[in-house]
């Protein structure tokens, strides 16, 4: 092992994979930085160097302010809710309750479906007058609400869909972690008089910490990069009420054909993700020292 890597071996082993990675990850990242300094070209006026103008534009773009706020709420709500629900699901599936197999199936199935299919299912749940929720509301004698069509509820409707799809996947990771907790630890705590809540707080929860960090990082990445449901269900509307940052990038680049401003927004998103990654690695570091 650990033989020196000659040039021909290096090319044979690393050549193609690295060329592909660089072409579709590092090059476009650099290209985004470069084109963020240029203006949008038209047929008459070619694209020209404008320095930091695109970045200045970020600060007085009302749509961006709205979209950033939406993304922040979306991440701040979906991440903890997904973590809490996936732990609850894992505890239920791991318990001795009847119907565990059915529960596991019901929780896990949504993660198998494409987001676009999930979006279709939920469109049908939300349709006013006729969907699942509307029928329950009518049956209860409550007013019918157009969840996707009103700006107060559209973003929340998106969050419900995201949590519904993702919690089951993270449940699997918690299930694995729960099953690796030594039974005698819990038994010892119970013998000393600890109740269930106490056992969970002082034994189970701390031992789940590495899984929680892993799940939180993935939930965070998904919060910023999965927008299929937004495209399929509301197209960001009404009035950008359900538009997320990546959706706005998609709209600017492919709807308005403004690639330079789209590139500027891409740099912003990459920066946000990078920042989160650094913070989370620091947290992860502290956890390992703690142990």
């Amino acid at each position: 092992m650990n033989k020196p890597l000659g040039i021909s071996r290096a090319i044979a082993l690393l050549g193609v994979p690295l060329v592909l990675l660089i072409t579709f990850t590092h090059y476009p990242l650099l290209q985004s930085v470069v084109s963020s300094f240029w203006s949008k070209g038209t047929k008459i006026r070619p694209s020209k160097f404008i320095g930091l103008d695109n970045y200045a534009k970020l600060f007085d773009d009302p749509v961006l302010a709205k979209v950033m706020w939406n993304s922040l709420i979306y991440a701040a709500v979906t991440i903890p809710v997904t973590v809490a629900l996936s732990i609850a699901m894992a505890l239920l599936v791991n318990s001795k309750l009847p119907g565990r197999a059915l529960m596991r199936l019901s929780f896990f199935l949504p993660t198998m479906l494409p987001m676009i299919a999930v979006a279709n299912l939920w469109l049908f749940v939300y349709v006013p007058g006729y969907g699942l929720i509307a029928q329950v509301m009518i049956w209860l004698g409550l007013p019918d609400i157009n969840f996707l069509g009103s700006s107060e509820t559209a973003l929340w409707a998106m969050m419900v869909v995201a949590v519904w799809k993702e919690a089951g996947l993270f449940m699997i990771f918690y299930l694995a972690a729960l099953q690796s907790i030594p039974q005698n630890l819990k038994e010892a705590a119970v013998l000393e008089g600890a109740g269930k809540a106490r056992v969970f707080r002082d034994i189970v929860w701390p031992l789940l910490a590495p899984t929680t960090v892993f799940v939180a990082i993935n939930a965070m990445l998904n919060a910023f990069r999965v927008i299929d449901h937004v495209v399929a269900m509301t197209n960001g509307g009404p009035n950008n009420a359900s538009a997320l940052l990546l959706f706005y990038i998609y709209q600017v680049a492919f709807g308005f054909r403004d690639f330079p401003y789209g590139a500027t927004l891409t740099v912003l998103l990459a920066g946000i993700l990078g920042l989160f990654a650094i913070v989370q690695f620091k947290l992860l570091d502290r956890r390992t020292h703690y142990q």
């Binding site: 033989k3 929780f107 279709n120 299912l121 399929a232």
Partner: protein, 280 residues
């Protein structure tokens, strides 16, 4: 519970049990209902989609109509080709890179690994704009190969296989080398067989990712000849005006059926493999 319970705790345990059952029931219903509702409408005539008459006749008519209304057969073939292309390239390319990183030493190994890991964070979805321009320059817009290209080399796969290859005992490698096995022989006879479960797990994750991917293929494809099922489904479902809900639901179930059936068949192995990836 398996540990001894003192009599005073029994009332509390019974309450816990009721609370657990309630939570279980609520969650299971919330999670099951949207899918069950969709199954109901897909298998019944349009007029029954809002009235739950248990005697309503079941029908496959919606599936027949949806199948004939759009080229779903073609979409399926495209998705299968796309998934196969991506998974086989992932296997080969990630194996080579991981092998190079684990078995050999070279000056820039550390920074190189860090550079690869950038893709774990900045995934291709985030770079749709510039990647579209690159693909256009390569003349690969509206091709299945173009959809697969940015995903062929995957940091996740490299990371996973690197972790696995690191656990291969040095003595096995040395013994094979002593017997005169070259670089490729050692890879094929020593490293790859030991990583079999990881290939299985990664293959499943990778197939379900490509089967379900939507935004990038939506941007890159514009003709039925290159469109995967996800994009085909969304095109079918957003021709709004005329399309009936029961048809949309039938199409939704139809396009997701293969993966769901595969899951039901291999449930145990599937969940275990997802777990194995999660633990690493």
């Amino acid at each position: 519970m398996s540990w001894p319970v003192r009599p005073t705790q029994q009332i509390g345990t019974a309450l816990d049990h009721v609370a657990g059952m309630t939570l279980a029931a609520v969650l299971a219903v919330l999670w099951g209902l949207p899918l069950l509702y969709s199954v109901w409408t897909a298998f019944h005539a349009e007029k029954y989609s809002v009235q739950f008459d248990l005697t309503a006749p079941w029908t496959l008519q919606n599936f027949v109509e949806a199948w004939n209304a759009a080229p779903f057969g073609l979409y399926f073939i495209n998705t299968v080709l796309l998934s196969l292309m991506a998974v086989s390239a992932n296997f080969v390319l990630c194996t080579l890179t991981a092998y190079g990183l684990v078995r050999y030493r070279f000056r820039w190994a550390g920074p190189l690994f860090a550079l690869i890991m950038v893709q774990m964070l900045i995934t291709p979805e985030i770079l749709i704009g510039p990647n579209y321009l690159t693909l256009a320059r390569l003349g690969l817009i509206d091709t299945i190969f173009g959809v697969a290209l940015p995903y062929l080399s995957s940091a996740f796969g490299i990371f996973l296989l690197r972790q696995t290859f690191k656990t291969v005992p040095a003595s096995l490698d040395e013994a094979a080398t002593m017997e005169g096995a070259g670089m490729w022989r050692v890879l094929w006879d020593v490293y790859v067989p030991l990583a079999k479960p990881v290939y299985l797990a990664y293959g499943l994750v990778s197939v379900s990712f490509h089967w379900n991917n939507f935004l990038w293929p939506l941007i890159v494809t514009n003709s039925p000849e290159a469109r995967p099922v996800t994009v085909g489904l969304s095109v079918f479902a957003t021709v709004d005006s005329g399309v009936e809900w029961s048809l949309v639901n039938a199409a939704t179930l139809m396009t997701t059926a293969p993966l769901v059936l595969a899951f039901l068949l291999f449930q145990r192995g599937f969940v275990d493999n997802f777990m194995r990836i999660g633990i690493k």
